[in-house]
């Protein structure tokens, strides 16, 4: 299939995703133990934004940490404008987006799988279970919240694996001490590794028990994106479900030019949220991540998103 020009809105969305992913990485690295230069507590940033954390902790304890009011902003913005968070801000979503884009398959195959499925109700049930459990004092949100899941996997599995991998590679180079003529490779590899150690890698990597299961689950969740688009986001994520509930009637809605559309259904290909953009009346705002892929893919430029009064006629 010929590579098409991608719309500027999609580029903007990708930049936003990359930006927030970078912020997450930065904040993650700041959490390391450095005895001489202690850094502040910006690690909590993503968790403070998280309305699921806010609601479930309020239900469980009838108290709310003041910082969590930040999450009300997110919730409010979702009510007004829809589930943009999932498409533009969520770093875990960005990861799923990335893996999903590695899928192989024809447009026809994707049309069959990328559209809305009734299984997308599953995460709403999970959200319900989590809120009920929270009310009973059991914290399940910590297991299924996307930030918690990502942070836990990163801390216990990915980061240690990265450190080990880097140490192994640079260790092998150091031990073999290869030469190219009279030039020693380690005169480059060692400074590079030192730089990585000082910036990104860990100085003293602790090891954890029970990480095999976390690794398996994380890898499974990530690989499921090859099976269905943004598997976690569509079928599991309770935060997404919460935002979906909040974003049922947003001000920003999809708009299809009926006379331009020939129902080729290419807009369904790579639809992130499974919101069925192919027919305006069937479009599911609660599932739409506002990724703009549909608008970008439409060969007739029949789709766009615009502000409209919900429920009102065009």
């Amino acid at each position: 299939m010929a590579r098409r020009r991608v719309s500027w809105q999609v580029w903007l969305r990708r930049i936003a995703q990359a930006g927030f992913a970078f912020v997450f990485l930065y904040v993650f690295l700041q959490a390391e133990y450095r005895p001489i230069n202690r850094t502040g507590g910006h690690v909590k940033f993503f968790f403070l934004l998280d309305p699921l954390v806010m609601i479930s902790s309020w239900l469980a304890s009838h108290q709310m940490a003041s910082g969590l009011l930040l999450s009300l902003v997110i919730l409010g913005l979702t009510v007004l404008f829809g589930r943009w968070f999932c498409g533009w801000m969520c770093p875990f979503g960005a990861l799923h987006n990335l893996i999903t884009s590695l899928r192989k398959g024809t447009a026809k195959e994707k049309i069959a799988t990328d559209g809305y499925s009734r299984w997308q109700k599953a995460n709403y049930y999970l959200l319900g279970a989590i809120l009920v459990a929270a009310f009973m004092g059991i914290n399940l949100a910590g297991w299924f919240d996307p930030f918690a899941f990502l942070y836990r996997s990163a801390t216990l599995v990915i980061y240690p694996a990265l450190n080990d991998g880097a140490a192994w590679i640079f260790g092998r180079i150091y031990q073999h001490d290869p030469h190219i003529g009279s030039f020693k490779v380690i005169s480059i590899s060692e400074p590079v590794y030192e730089f990585l150690r000082r910036t990104v890698l860990s100085n003293a990597q602790p090891y954890f028990y029970g990480t095999v299961l976390i690794a398996v689950v994380f890898i499974a969740v990530v690989l499921l994106n090859l099976y269905r688009v943004r598997f976690w986001c569509r079928y599991i994520c309770p935060l997404g479900a919460l935002l979906g509930v909040a974003g049922k009637n947003p001000l920003v809605q999809i708009k299809r030019k009926e006379d331009a559309c020939n129902t080729c259904r290419v807009c369904v290909v790579d639809c992130q949220g499974g919101a069925d953009p192919e027919a305006t009346e069937r479009w599911k705002p609660a599932e739409c991540f506002y990724c703009w892929n549909c608008q970008s893919a439409c060969p007739h430029e029949a789709l766009t998103f615009s502000i409209r009064v919900p429920g009102g006629k065009e």
């Binding site: 133990y33 069959a112 799988t113 559209g115 499925s117 299984w119 599953a122 999970l126 399940l140 297991w143 299924f144 602790p206 954890f208 028990y209 029970g210 299961l213 976390i214 398996v216 689950v217 499974a220 969740v221 499921l224 099976y227 269905r228 079928y235 599991i236 009926e258 006379d259 559309c261 129902t263 259904r265 192919e278 027919a279």
Partner: protein, 328 residues
Amino acid sequence: MRGRSLPKRDAGVGTMHRFVSSFLVPFVVFCGLTAPRSLSAQDANRDALRLLVAEPLPEGSIGQSPASFYSPDNLYEYMDGGADIFVLYGVKTMLHLEAKVGTVDVTVDIFDMGSPNAAFGMYAAERSPEYDFIAMGVEGYRNKGILNFVQGRYYIKLAGFGDGADAVLESWGKSLSARMGSDTALPEMLSHLPSHHRKPHSEQYIPNEPLGHSFLGPAYVASYEFNGQESKLIVTVAENESNARERLKQLGDHFSKTGECAAAPDIEAGAIRGKNSFEGTFVAKVQGHLLLLGLESDCRQSTSSSRSSRESPLMLWRGERLSDLEDA
């Protein structure tokens, strides 16, 4: 113009989709729910230790990472050369936690020594009579930036760094002690040792090779001081009386080889006395399943005669029976 009706989805895809997702989603949920159990080590000792440092921590301390545990095999990874003596005393498992209170760093090391005897022995091995002692658990001592104490089968070593660290350690010590329960008695045998002229805080419990002799282990040891002369009382716990007599014989053989040894019927039937140049003068006898050994190093005596009638702790002691030891 209304859109054409949308084609139905391919049935084959739907079935597979249904099967896989009906398996995968519950699987993931199941994994998520069972994951917590697999994270914790199953060892009962470790669980008990974990309870000691469960939230809330004293003074609002914040643990810098989850508590780590060390077994006798890998304790050296934390303490290198310092680990050997703990292993010798039979450490079962050890909890290590770094915490922070404001600007104070706290290091919490709790050694599960397996038994109150071993815990006391390990504590006593590191203590010196001139330390600054405090009433905590069975006993404890403190100094700038450290607080160590023993209680039940645990030997606790706390280290603090920063302004106000000592007060934080005190708080930690009290909290741990309260969580450990009320087992604050010294090993029972020690209360049977003669108390007059005993050097305070000199008691020890040595399970292996007291004074370098395996036939003397395990033993309770206390130091005595009288008229400027120091001596030690070593009470070896044998399996039974004949084993105690066997050990007495080994002791006698050792001194015969390295110095002199003779029967001391004036003390008691079966008692012996003797001396050698590097260990000093001794008197020994058997009482029930115990071997009692009194040892005086010779540094100050100008006459090293063991038959001297000078008053010395050994001579003072020799006539006594250690009270109530038959059933100990």
